[in-house]
């Protein structure tokens, strides 16, 4: 169930964030279904070869975000929220858009002007795809 988790030293983000993101990805693509039981903190730590406290932190933050639910003595499972996977995918998009706005702000570009840039980027992607 935890095959394919990858903790990378070259990823500059803290390990707990990498774990959070990979759990969200599994839920977003539907591999971990809503309401499904997920590995215990200790089990995931052993599987990923990372410390228990790091996985505990990832689970606590995911719980705070309402993505998973942990019950004392019963373990953890994915929150039973219909459409949770889709919502996580949208959150991912929103995060990238916010990042784009922040970078644009540093360069003095207003969000309105980003629309034109988006179209330009779309054009570049299409061109690349045609070349492939």
């Amino acid at each position: 169930m935890t095959d394919g988790f990858l903790i990378s030293q070259s990823d500059k983000r803290p390990i707990y964030l990498q774990i959070m993101e990979q759990i969200k990805q599994r839920i977003a693509v539907g591999d971990w279904a809503e309401g499904q039981a997920i590995p215990s903190i200790r089990q995931l730590a052993v599987d990923l070869e990372v410390s228990v406290i790091t996985v505990k932190r990832a689970y606590l933050e995911l719980e705070r975000e309402g993505v998973i639910v942990t019950q004392q003595g019963k373990g953890s499972h994915v929150a039973s929220i219909p459409g949770l996977g889709l919502r996580l995918q949208e959150q991912e998009l929103e995060k990238h858009l916010e990042q784009a706005i922040r970078l644009a702000d540093l360069l003095g570009i207003r969000p309105e002007d980003l629309k034109a840039r988006l179209r330009e980027a779309e054009g570049r992607i299409k061109k690349e795809e045609e070349q492939v």
């Binding site: 903790i7 730590a45 052993v46 790091t54």
Partner: protein, 298 residues
């Protein structure tokens, strides 16, 4: 019974050219404690005191609830210790060593020992003198792990290993933690190993403990703030910021007690916060040692 696997309180030890000073250290049961620090910081001396191999001049040492060094014989049944300078019998095979340890420790887990042989890529019939450094380290660790001790104390278990051997060892150490009743204290100057597998971190330099706490809380306290400072603006001195390096308009502030309002404080001084970055344990290690040395010199 105490839920601390190891407890050191006010421990000191003086040598002609080195002293361990007022060491307080607690390793909770069920956790991995990583002891880090530069060469000669006092990591090995601390470990030797924990094992009762060196007697402290003063202070209390309790390991698995037993007072050290007085009760070391009783304590050691449940402690697995491995260090660089441990010697195996060169002319004997690994199988001979396994039988020897098995004859002493009733808790020896033969199927687990066989599994470890396979996972470590070792051959029991091989004589010790033919083993490489990495194979010796793995053989020593196998002899310790298969006893299933409640506490593992390992001095530099990954030093000098190739990446595959290092990975094999880290995997077995984290696997030990499946059982909540077991604990590990290990020293390393490989910050990646410590960042990956420890629950607790203790930083030691020049015989003193600089920091000792929960790894997540520890990493979370440190941040690097990248700032753009317009000409003529002086950055304010903020508590929790241990250093600022500035070159032209760009400055980097390092915080060891980061708070989100630091960014506001810099912004209201006229500077602009470009980025707030988390730091790796390696970067924290260097910043911490440099600061501690500056304090000593000042």
């Amino acid at each position: 019974m105490s839920d601390l696997a190891i407890e050191l309180a006010g421990v000191g030890k003086k040598y002609p050219y080195f002293a361990l000073d007022n060491i307080h250290l607690e390793v909770p049961q069920g956790q991995i404690m990583g002891l880090i620090g530069p060469n000669g910081a006092g990591k090995s001396t601390t470990i030797r005191i924990v094992m009762g191999l060196v007697q402290q001049d003063h202070g209390e040492v309790r390991v698995l609830g037993r007072s050290m060094p007085a009760e070391q014989i009783a304590a050691k049944w449940d402690i697995g210790f491995a260090s660089e300078d441990m010697r195996l019998y060169e002319g004997m095979t690994l199988a001979w060593h396994m039988n020897f340890i098995r004859s002493i420790y009733a808790k020896w887990d033969a199927p687990y020992a066989q599994l470890l042989l396979k996972r470590f890529g070792l051959r029991a019939e091989q004589k010790i003198k033919g083993l490489s450094h990495g194979q010796r380290v793995k053989a020593t660790l196998l002899l310790v792990l298969a006893r299933r001790p409640r506490l593992l104390v390992l001095d530099e278990p990954t030093t000098g290993l190739d990446p595959v051997a290092r990975h094999e060892i880290l995997r077995e150490l984290t696997a030990v933690m499946t059982d909540e009743g077991r604990s590990i204290l290990f020293s390393s100057h490989n910050t990646q190993d410590v960042e990956q597998i420890s629950d607790q971190i203790t930083f030691i330099d020049r015989g003193r403990i600089i920091d000792s706490m929960d790894k997540e809380a520890y990493l979370d306290r440190w941040r690097r703030l990248r700032l753009e400072v317009p000409f003529g603006i002086a950055l304010p001195a903020l508590p929790g910021v241990i250093g600022i390096r500035q070159n032209g308009r760009l400055a980097v502030a390092t915080a060891n007690a980061f708070a989100p309002d630091m960014a506001n404080a810099y912004e209201s001084s006229g500077a602009r916060v470009q980025a707030i970055e988390t730091m790796t344990l390696e970067e924290i290690f260097v910043a911490n040692v440099e600061r501690s040395r500056e304090e000593v010199e000042a």
